[in-house]
Symmetry: C2
DNA sequence: CACGGAATTATTGTCGACAATTTATGATAT
DNA sequence: ATATCATAAATTGTCGACAATAATTCCGTG
């Protein structure tokens, strides 16, 4: 199911922030877009829903997940927990050839850093998932994949207008520390990297304007929507 | 979807080890058992499949997940990572009334320890999930719930014939250390607890008998099944 | 008697149609 | 002009039927 082209397509769109939080994912629309039937789309949405990447509201449909600032912080906290552990485990069983993919990803990132649009996967997320993979723990890999995708959504939802999305090259430093088998150093840089990513967001303002309060209840289907279409997007 | 009665039923059956790894979950059988239609069952199985609680094999159906010894170790390793972090976070924001549920669960466990059969949820798993909940991190809670369920499957699959399933009351000790705000102590006991749980299993023997090797490929649908029904169960 | 292959049976996968609910539109009254 | 209510359109939810695939059974052959 994870290799399903529709799932891959939606995941990529989330990675690349083309699908923004709150967007409606109509079944008919998706079915015609991917040239398949509604049953298939329904399975895909259910699958993505169980990963909290889309939110399924009964009788209302599927929406790209929006999460509260509290939950966004939880995602970052959990990433720190998992990535610390991943680096630690990876360096306990490290062999030089294991770092090959890591170096390759760093090089790829550098070569693509000048392009504005990518045709492939989100390389930044791949880097973090690759570290989880080096730990040799498949459960960690799966959780990391989920969190990386949810992080893309959080960034899309909470990024500040002016802030750059990409941090100034923390990945090469992390990779270097890992290749040097410097566990404490790698963990420290990684943690700072995640903290900086989080700092670029505006998760702090508890002041959700009144209109947004109304929107929240609208999203939950408690209050009927007055007139405007989906809050953002299609 | 998580509150769906069919999902709850299957989850409870997994918790209580009535559904054993490898069992076939026929759609028609489930539909008639729960008095619903096949479409609904299909959604449920897809949902459980994306949590790795059941394994979906195309054109073959759904089976209660069996995992390799390596993956079982990964589940325990990841639990240690998450529970360490959960205890740490919980004690950083601890208030006395937060421990109420914890104490209640310990008391419940003690009162039910004499009964052989439970009518409710798996209390042992609830204890661990409750600690995750104390951390205030909903992502941690969700991951913990998934791992607790998968641990039930691992235990059912790998438990030694003679070994008792229930460890000698580590939970009260852990709860006590948490209520005493002894972070290091709580973590140490928890880690030992998980290590002991793992030690009661036979994850070590790399000697999967020839018959089991064949069974593995059969489960994967590579080799057609000769005659016998599902390896275990219905 | 064992082995291999074809027909039968059972189960899963797919599709389309209909029902239920929600959303949008338009009319009417204040 | 705004608000409220009824009607119409669109979308989701549900169900049953048919096609495709896998498993079993049965039969023939060596």
């Amino acid at each position: 199911m994870d290799q399903d082209p529709v799932v891959q397509g939606i995941l990529k769109a989330i990675s690349l922030k083309r699908l923004r939080p709150g967007m409606k994912l109509g079944e008919i629309e998706l079915a015609s877009a991917f040239g398949t039937n509604r049953t298939h789309i329904r399975q895909v949405l259910s699958h993505l829903g169980s990963r909290d990447l889309v939110t399924l509201i009964p009788n209302r449909g599927a929406f790209v997940s929006q999460c509260s600032a509290e939950e966004a912080r939880a995602i970052f906290d959990t990433r720190k927990i998992l990535e610390r552990a991943a680096i630690s485990a990876a360096l306990d069983r490290f062999t030089p050839e294991m770092g090959k993919n890591l170096s390759r990803l760093v090089a790829l990132e550098k070569s693509h850093s000048h392009d504005d649009r990518w045709d492939g996967l989100d390389l930044s997320a791949s880097f973090h998932v690759e570290i989880a993979r080096l730990s040799g723990n498949p459960v960690l890999v799966k959780f990391m994949e989920e969190l990386a995708l949810r992080t893309s959504l959080v960034i899309a939802q909470y990024e500040q207008p002016g802030a750059e999305d990409h941090c100034p090259d923390a990945h090469p430093d992390i990779a270097e520390r890992i290749l040097a088998r410097d566990k404490a150093g790698a963990i420290a840089i990684m943690e700072r990297h995640l903290t900086e990513m989080q700092a670029r967001l505006r998760l702090d303002g508890g002041d959700e304007s009144e209109a947004d309060i109304a929107a929240i209840f609208q999203e939950l289907g408690i209050i009927p929507r007055t007139k405007a279409g989906a809050r953002r997007g299609a």
